[in-house]
């Protein structure tokens, strides 16, 4: 063994604490891990400001966990009073201006907690973690953590976390040039304690009549069974789920395959073109706020790729879709 290596090794063994400090990512990772758990296990209620593409909206959120179930309600306070209500694994989006309810059910909780450690490790392959200074959000002293992307297929993130509870208080998603693509920040938040149950009840509950309910059925399928292959997904993105969606009746099935790099997710939806003429479908990318959308046609199917990632990543995954022979 070379002398300098030996010296280095003995330094690590002699001063494990300082070595751990130097190798800060472990510490930061633990903090990030706590934040992820906190988002699901904590009771909290507050008001936050969401900013995307130059538009700003204020919303109210309440989150409650009892013995076994998780409840959540988000209400937009500006403009038309849209709501997202989660009752454990069922999510309902109320869009009053269109008198539309979008329902989505999530079967099981496969992603948590078993997959967590592996996923977090996956995360450090794709992002450089750095503990930043202390900041202050909604009157709470917060630890800032920077996640810098290791390549051009993902965005950077800046997170403000409450060191006491682990709750995420503020987050900014950063574009290629360090510009803020999207931000969310609590302006007021109550962490723990009693959450008023009325905060979790939708104002649209029980309002039937002329509201349209869109309740597609999604069943999990092995991603490989979906009949489609992905030759060339962006580095670091792995298939994490495969689903079959059906709106019922005559509606054809849509395949939904989900990819993740440990933090960002990309969804690929593949639906039959049906009556639509292939040459009428424009291939291209667009953005809906911070979410990118890419679509193209292949083998009489429309491929819609979306996620909070740069267009390069969406395009790469979308272009690599091929029908399995």
């Amino acid at each position: 063994m070379r002398p300098w290596a030996a010296a280095g090794l003995s330094a690590v063994f002699l001063f494990p604490a300082s070595a751990a400090l130097a190798a800060d990512p472990g510490d930061t990772l633990a903090l990030l891990n706590r934040t992820i758990t906190a988002a699901q296990k904590l009771n909290y209620a507050g008001t936050f400001v969401y900013q995307s593409g130059g538009a700003v909206e204020t919303s109210r959120i309440a989150h409650l966990v009892d013995a076994s179930r998780e409840f959540e309600r988000l209400e937009v306070l500006d403009g038309s009073p849209r709501e997202v209500v989660r009752n454990d694994n069922e999510v309902r989006c109320y869009l009053p201006a269109r008198k539309l309810v979008l329902v989505e059910r999530r079967e099981g909780r496969r992603g948590f907690p078993a997959l967590l450690p592996a996923s977090v490790a996956n995360l450090t392959e794709n992002y450089a973690l750095r503990k930043g200074s202390m900041g202050r959000v909604a009157g709470i002293d917060a630890q800032i953590v920077h996640l810098e992307p290791r390549d051009e297929f993902r965005y950077g993130h800046q997170l403000w976390m409450d060191p006491a509870s682990g709750l995420l208080l503020k987050a900014i998603m950063l574009g290629e040039k360090g510009d803020a693509l999207e931000s969310f920040a609590f302006t007021q938040v109550q962490i723990g304690g009693t959450i008023d149950r009325s905060l979790l009840r939708s104002r649209y509950e029980g309002q039937g009549g002329d509201w349209k309910v869109q309740d597609p059925k999604a069943t999990e399928s092995r991603p490989d069974e979906a009949g489609w292959t992905f030759r060339n997904p962006p580095p670091g993105f792995r298939k994490v789920a495969g689903l079959k969606r059906s709106a019922g009746g005559e509606q054809p099935e849509t395949a939904h395959v989900l990819f993740s790099d440990g933090l960002a997710a990309i969804s690929v939806f593949i639906e039959p073109l049906g009556q639509r003429a292939a040459d009428k479908v424009e291939t291209g990318t667009s953005r809906v706020g911070s979410v990118g959308v890419y679509q193209r046609v292949t083998s009489d199917h429309l491929v819609v790729v979306l996620g909070e990632v740069p267009s390069a990543a969406l395009k790469r995954i979308g272009d690599s879709v091929e029908r399995r022979r």
């Binding site: 990030l32 934040t35 992820i36 988002a39 699901q40 936050f48 969401y50 995307s52 593409g53 130059g54 538009a55 909206e57 919303s59 959120i61 989150h63 959540e72 988000l74 038309s80 849209r82 997202v84 989660r86 999510v91 989006c93 869009l95 009053p96 201006a97 269109r98 539309l100 989505e104 999530r106 992603g111 948590f112 997959l115 996923s119 995420l168 987050a171 969310f184 869109q214 994490v240 789920a241 689903l243 939904h256 989900l258 993740s260 997710a265 969804s267 939806f269 639509r276 009428k280 479908v281 424009e282 291209g284 990318t285 667009s286 953005r287 809906v288 706020g289 679509q295 819609v304 979306l306």
Partner: protein, 164 residues
């Protein structure tokens, strides 16, 4: 502002500027006429036959019904830029039926027939489809997201226009 509108048409604006330009268009009638004029001039320059002068009402109908969504960034290898910006608004004008306004950039410069023919003829992903897909995306995205429930804001944010 007219200068910003012109830049926006040419696809030369940054994201925040585009949103501001759209907001101004939404509010200012004079500006909408300017917008029309610019397009008429553009069409005339490209010697396109079927000149349309009633773009504004339809564009505004689109803006009212659709959320404020950014026009796509210009691509490195563009078709004539004013056409792409026009496409973005035309998609909305034609009520391209997305719950969210998808302004698509064509991948290859198409031959230039009359303006009307350049409008996307049919909704691509069905009405409300993109929004449905967004909800599904947020619901099934791995629990690793440290943002918890606040991430759902993306599915409803700016989806019904904040000006009502």
């Amino acid at each position: 502002m007219t200068q910003e509108i012109s830049a926006f048409m040419d696809g030369e604006t940054e994201a925040t500027e585009s949103t501001r330009a759209l907001e101004s268009l939404r509010r200012d009638e004079e500006l909408r006429r300017t917008w029309d004029t610019y397009h008429l001039v553009g069409a005339a320059l490209r010697r396109e036959g079927d000149l349309q002068s009633d773009l504004a009402p339809r564009v505004m109908a689109g803006l009212r019904d659709e959320p404020v969504v950014l026009a796509p960034r210009p691509r490195p290898n563009p078709s004539p830029p004013q056409r792409r910006a026009w496409m973005a608004l035309a998609a909305s004008a034609a009520g391209a039926a997305f719950g969210l306004w998808l302004a698509l950039t064509p991948s290859a410069p198409a031959p230039g027939p009359a303006l009307a023919a350049r409008m996307p003829a049919a909704p691509v992903a069905g009405p409300g489809r993109i929004q449905e897909y967004l909800v599904a995306h947020q619901t099934y995205a791995p629990s690793l997201n440290p943002q918890g429930g606040t991430r759902y804001i993306r599915t409803v944010a700016m989806s019904e226009g904040t000006s009502r």
